[in-house]
């Protein structure tokens, strides 16, 4: 006979304000199988949990229902409480009368009735729960880090320093990410590459880090502790082991006509290239989409390459055997890992997306990232601020903040977080390099919340003379040689028109392209902006809903370098915690197949997305085969239940969500179901 204990939480006012908790407690007491129905202000608190434990022991409960917040919040809390009282944790259920009831409904009567219905559903479900034991699976103590920017680098180093191997996959030919493109970083004005490159070298030399560059993650299968990853190593056409990085091939390659990705289109590169001089690894790759040998062959419709079309790099290479190898093909490599950290970073919106500021047609209207390249000593102008159109030094620059960001008309409602800071920084860099230059900044607000950030922005105004105008710019158009910037200064209440030599737009930070595809591969959620979803916005910022997959850096949300590094170390700590045990405890919500009734149609085997269903032979005592049936491997099964619903003979079932439980729950929605003896 079932003995269910129901605990109804007030959650302070959160539930009690809208739901008549006393009425719920009384109604629940009348429900069949319920022996205790009690309420408390905060059931999740220490005294609340003690109350649960005492009640379990006093009444020898066979199941517990806590009517409170979402199970996604506190199911584990209450399961642990039950466990410590000697009750199997999987006999505990939660009725979500907060997120799904008191917080979303206004009519007290309706909300109270709904809460009663919800508790009744869970009581019927709880009566039919069975004791389950967690499943222990071995953990592969290797991690995969996707993305070699500052966040990926930090996570890789932290995990590698715990003694475990890390596979770091970066899609461009060098690690470093966007931080490598920066000139100086706020608020210290540290030279970005100076602080980054030592870390990059550490990654390359670390015995525990296996680095793939010019590579992508092609496929991910498996689950926490046991991921099977396929890495697609793009053909570099350069043999890394033989290449010494001498650079002779770089000088030989021509034409230098391809827009450089690293310089954001402000300079040109060759088809055989190293993205920047401090690249790690410092070995070139050949971009087969622009290399003459490949493009001419493609134009002529043939697959075979002709040495007569080019081959300068091959001629120039001094190594024996030659480091250039045009026969290379993309390679797929299998890696087994136990945890994955996603650090794929961000991209910036391009000027071509903004109609009011010229659709990208004006060469002297550039993005903040492009300005970084101008200011950078390793950039296209060797660190001198020059107009892209004619190479002259701009006598004034207009900086516009919030371009795209905080703009519902452009489809982006969020704040990109870093632009106020880097714009202030840009005004300072400009002033330091062009002493007579005048910087104007059009802003809506100044968001400088980090450590020393506010002081930094004041410096730009007070020491470096930047003029800050609070207002927006409606239009930029070209008049002869200058750009006319039409804006408004709301503090003086006057329209402002500036004849600018150059305009820098702080364009919105966006998720990197193809994040969606990667997220789907990993089973990670993403929002409408393609930023990856964390498990809980407040308390679980580095985990995702998929166990074993963690987040670090701007792929989760716009953030600056200190936050990216913190998050990366946080993710690494989670990975280290996972790797600190040989066995990982898995939820026992798994499928099982009744051998006696299985008709061996194997629909379940075909339907299972994880290959968890196997064929099992049933033999008699003499070893003769009687029949082959389906068998669900609990170590692999993820508990989706698709096999249960495709089963034609009703032989498959899912622990924790059995057919019996589901039907009983449905029956209990609006009225008390007939009391049948549930063992």
């Amino acid at each position: 006979m079932a003995k269910i204990g129901v605990f109804i939480c007030h959650c302070g006012e959160n539930i009690a304000r809208t739901i008549d908790v006393d009425e719920v407690t009384d109604e629940v007491e009348e429900m069949g199988g319920v022996v205790v129905s009690t309420d408390y202000k905060y059931v999740c608190s220490d005294p609340g949990q003690e109350m649960i434990k005492e009640t379990i022991q006093k009444h020898d409960l066979s199941g517990v229902v806590v009517a409170a917040c979402s199970p996604r919040m506190h199911e584990n809390t209450f399961r642990r409480a039950c466990s410590s009282a000697g009750l199997n944790p999987y006999l505990c259920e939660m009725a979500n009368i907060r997120e799904h009831c008191s917080w979303v409904h206004t009519d007290e009567e309706e909300a109270t009735q709904k809460a009663i219905d919800m508790v009744r559903i869970m009581v019927e479900k709880a009566k039919r729960n069975t004791e389950l034991e967690p499943i222990m699976v071995p953990v592969t103590k290797r991690a995969l880090v996707i993305g070699g920017g500052i966040a990926g680098i930090q996570a890789a180093l932290d995990i590698a320093n715990t003694g475990h191997e890390v596979v770091l996959v970066e899609k461009t030919p060098s690690i470093g990410g966007h931080m490598a493109q920066l000139s100086e970083t706020f608020p210290t004005l540290d030279c970005s590459q100076c602080i980054l490159t030592p870390r990059m070298v550490e990654v390359a030399q670390h015995p525990n880090i296996k680095l793939y560059v010019y590579a992508e993650v092609a496929e991910v299968n498996g689950y926490i502790g046991n991921f099977d990853v396929k890495v697609r190593q793009r053909a570099k056409f350069v043999i890394d082991d033989i290449c010494t990085g001498c650079g002779d091939c770089l000088e030989a390659c021509e034409p230098r006509s391809i827009p450089s990705e690293f310089d954001v289109g402000l300079s040109k590169r060759t088809a055989l290239y190293v993205p920047f001089p401090q690249a790690v690894p410092n070995k070139p790759v050949i971009d087969n989409e622009t290399c003459k040998l490949f493009t001419i062959a493609a134009e002529e419709g043939r697959e075979k390459l002709k040495r007569s079309d080019c081959g300068e790099c091959y001629e120039a290479c001094p190594t024996k055997p030659n480091s250039i190898d045009f026969t290379q093909k993309d390679e797929y490599i299998d890696e087994k890992v136990g945890a994955i950290v996603v650090a794929t970073g961000f991209d910036v919106m391009e000027t071509s997306e903004i109609a009011e500021y010229g659709y990208g047609k004006y060469e002297d209207v550039i993005t903040g990232l492009q300005f970084e390249r101008l200011a950078s000593a390793s950039g296209p102008t060797a660190g001198e601020i020059k107009r892209p159109s004619d190479g002259n030094t701009p006598e004034n620059i207009v900086f516009i903040q919030c371009v795209g960001s905080r703009d519902q008309a452009k489809g982006i409602s969020y704040c990109s977080k870093i632009c106020c800071m880097y714009t202030a920084k840009h005004t300072m860099l400009y002033k330091h390099k062009v002493h007579d230059g005048q910087a104007y900044v059009f802003y809506m607000d100044i968001r400088a919340g980090g450590k020393n950030y506010e002081e930094f922005t004041r410096r730009a105004i007070e020491e470096d003379g930047a003029i800050y105008l609070r207002g927006r710019v409606s239009r930029i158009y070209k008049e002869k040689d200058v750009l006319m910037v039409k804006g408004f200064d709301t503090i003086s209440g006057m329209p402002v028109e500036i004849a600018a030599d150059m305009v820098v737009l702080a364009t919105a930070m966006k998720a990197s392209p193809k994040t969606n595809e990667l997220a789907q591969m990993l089973g990670v959620s993403f929002d409408k902006y393609s930023f990856l979803s964390e498990a809980h916005p407040k308390l679980r910022p580095v985990e995702t809903a998929t166990a074993g997959v963690f987040l670090a850096g701007a792929c989760q949300a716009p953030k600056d370098i200190p936050d990216a590094v913190s998050q990366a170390s946080g993710a690494a700590a989670k990975v280290a915690a996972l790797f600190s045990q040989d066995l990982y405890e898995r939820e026992p919500v798994v499928a099982s197949v009744d051998e006696n009734t299985c008709v061996a149609c194997f629909f379940c085997l075909e339907a299972c997305p994880y290959g968890a269903i196997e064929r099992k032979e049933i033999k008699d005592r003499d070893g003769n085969l009687i029949k082959t049936v389906s068998f669900a491997n609990e170590a692999v099964c993820q508990g989706c239940g698709v096999c249960v619903s495709v089963c034609r003979s009703n032989s498959a079932d899912l622990a924790g969500f059995t057919d019996e439980q589901m039907f009983a729950s449905i029956e209990a929605i609006w009225e008390q179901i007939e009391e049948k003896d549930v063992a």
Partner: protein, 142 residues
């Protein structure tokens, strides 16, 4: 019309990872929607047997909603595809039986779409209010 003010009975079978979380988000965001809905959580919409839907109608539901992850985003890879195919076929059967096919709905609500969930429920309740309570089932079984 007098009928417009009646309280429909709506059951939603929702998947734990997307729609249930989206509904949680609607709650955390204190969005408000109609109370005439009861949620039943499943690990994946692929778990949903068509008999669950029949059972819900048998218990007096005027409308059943199946809501899960967006295509491509299923936490278990492809469970939502199974659910959708099953739903399509079952809905055809319902139509064949002469049942208004507005009574069986399907939606994709992700864990980030709290606002969508609230709007969906409000819209759904309004829609079902505009048609009669579902009496045909009782007539079929009596």
């Amino acid at each position: 019309m007098a009928k417009k003010n009646w309280n429909p009975k709506i059951v939603a079978f929702v998947c734990n990872w997307c729609t249930y979380a989206g509904a949680d988000l609607a709650g955390t965001s204190r969005l408000k929607y109609d109370a005439n809905i009861r949620l039943l959580r499943v690990p994946c919409t692929g778990r949903i047997d068509t008999l669950f839907i029949v059972k819900a109608f048998e218990q007096g539901a005027d409308c059943v909603l199946v809501s899960g992850c967006h295509p491509g985003d299923c936490h278990y890879d492809a469970g939502n595809y199974h659910a959708r195919r099953r739903w399509i076929i079952f809905r055809e059967l319902m139509s064949f039986l002469g049942i208004d096919d507005r009574r069986l709905q399907f939606s994709s609500v992700s864990a980030a779409e709290g606002v969508k969930w609230a709007k969906l429920i409000n819209g759904l309740v309004d829609e079902i209010r505009s048609i009669d309570p579902f009496k045909e089932y009782q007539r079929l079984t009596s």
